[in-house]
């Protein structure tokens, strides 16, 4: 519960006045608030904690962190079931 998960911003829009990005995690997109990272835009990788992006990271960093979290079985507490099945490679194809 204190971890942040890397994902890739694939679109940016607004919902109910919140700046919401669709962020790809493991082949599935999730709505994520981008309010705390106003500088983030499409194609960027962000660290997401409880549905809020808290920092921007580069792609290499994002890949490495995703693999480590997966290896450690720590994605379970942070993401809904469907999002944990695919790795970062599959994510980039979608």
């Amino acid at each position: 519960m204190c971890l942040a998960i890397p994902g890739k911003v694939i679109s940016v829009g607004e919902e109910n006045g919140i700046r919401i990005g669709r962020v790809l995690f493991g082949g599935v997109t999730q709505p994520v608030s981008l309010d705390f990272v106003p500088e983030a835009s499409i194609g960027d990788y962000v660290m997401v904690h409880v549905g809020f992006a808290i920092s921007r990271v580069n792609q290499e960093e994002a890949e490495k962190t995703w693999q480590t979290l997966e290896e450690m079985g720590l994605l379970a507490g942070e993401l809904p079931e469907a999002n944990r099945t695919a790795g970062l490679a599959e994510r980039d194809q979608s």
Binding site: L3, D35, F52, I54, M72, G77
Partner: protein, 367 residues
């Protein structure tokens, strides 16, 4: 050793271990604050790979583990009301309150739902305007801005069926309480990377000055942690107390300004009870009075006092670094992740759960 080879940076890990081995000359007690870091240490057996002079103790950095029983008792009470839907992060539903837990309340008919994000809690509130949505919002500084944003957003949208039952804890006052306590054994702290990503480094520099004790910000991967440990060991061996940020790829000196802004807008610092550690002055956050209409404590008049949890559970001593989970008489017997007697056995980031996952087999061999 069993897990090291599967880690892709194993060369780097070996180099760092070698460096630490060459530097250390004395017994050193280091504490990692964050439960995610505890998990990494256990998962990769870092504590066993390090030279025996280095003792790692596991701090109070799992929000699930330090949420007080009175908050859980309040959540369980309010969840039993006809018109209330109680939502919270997954692990919170299994943490025992003084009598029962939220999942048991759910099985007896309470409307309890799990969410991954405060955005989900808001969505439920929008979709079911006839129900009162109470969001049991726990967390450290990493999570608090997201919870704050939920309240701010509810206010902006005019949602009048969304309420926060908040239990937020702050890391620096906890370090202050631990470092300042007469039975403290910790000589250096690894500060939590994602907390610092949000709040920055200032408070930690101040703590270094206050206690003349080194503090190093660390990440969550084995290399990150060993790097932080190597820096702490070097400082302690040289007799230096300094601050260092060894997770600079995520943590900037000032932190995330936008997140800090919403925190300050919605919450104010207040005294806070911690499970196991008792009340720590100025170590929590409460809603500012202008958001009182969203405060579940006030709206539902929740006043259940703190009750001490199960007497067999030694989690208080574990969170202070005085005992290890394996020192607990019921560890792995009557207390397991399936039926936890204490909070550190619930979350995968809790020290007891991490030991259970990765160390219980070793124990059987030893016995």
């Amino acid at each position: 050793m069993k897990y090291l080879d599967e880690y892709r940076d194993s060369q780097m890990v070996k180099r760092l271990l070698e460096k630490i081995r060459r530097t250390v000359t004395q017994h050193l007690v280091l504490m990692e604050i964050c439960g995610g870091q505890t998990h990494t240490i256990m998962r990769y057996g870092l504590d066993e790979l390090l030279p025996p002079q280095i003792e790692l103790v596991h701090g109070p950095g799992c929000p699930v583990c330090v949420t007080s029983t009175s908050i859980l008792d309040r959540a369980i009470e309010v969840a039993q009301r006809e018109d209330v839907t109680l939502v919270s992060y997954g692990d919170m539903l299994r943490v025992p309150g003084s009598k029962t837990d939220l999942l048991s309340a759910k099985s007896r008919g309470a409307d309890v739902r799990m969410v991954y994000s405060p955005l989900d809690a808001l969505r439920i509130a929008r979709q079911t305007p006839e129900r009162k949505i109470v969001f049991l919002a726990v967390g450290f500084e990493t999570t608090a801005p997201a919870n704050a944003m939920a309240v701010w957003q509810a206010h902006r949208e005019g949602l009048n069926n969304f309420f926060l039952l908040a239990s937020h804890v702050l890391v620096p006052p906890a370090i202050r309480a631990l470092a300042g306590s007469p039975d403290n054994r910790v000589q250096g702290f690894i500060a939590p990377g994602h907390v610092c990503t949000v709040v920055g480094c200032r408070d930690y520099e101040d703590l270094v000055q206050e206690f003349r004790m080194p503090i190093v910000v660390g990440g969550f991967e084995p290399v990150d942690l060993l790097q932080a440990i190597a820096v702490l060991v070097t400082m302690l061996e040289e007799g230096r107390a300094a601050f260092s940020n060894e997770y600079a790829r995520s943590v900037s000196y000032r932190g995330n300004i936008e997140a800090q802004r919403i925190l300050a807008e919605v919450f104010e610092v207040a005294d806070q009870p911690w499970r196991g550690l008792g009340e720590i002055p100025q170590s929590g956050l409460r809603l500012k009075s202008k958001f009182a209409a969203y405060d579940a404590n006030q709206v539902f008049a929740l006043t259940i006092p703190e009750v001490e949890a199960s007497s067999v559970c030694i989690s208080a001593k574990i969170l202070k670094g005085l005992k290890k989970p394996t020192d607990c008489s019921v560890f792995g017997h009557s207390c397991t992740p399936e039926s936890p007697l204490g909070a550190p056995m619930v979350s995968s980031e809790g020290a007891c759960s991490a030991y259970y996952q990765y160390r219980r087999h070793d124990l059987v061999v030893i016995q």
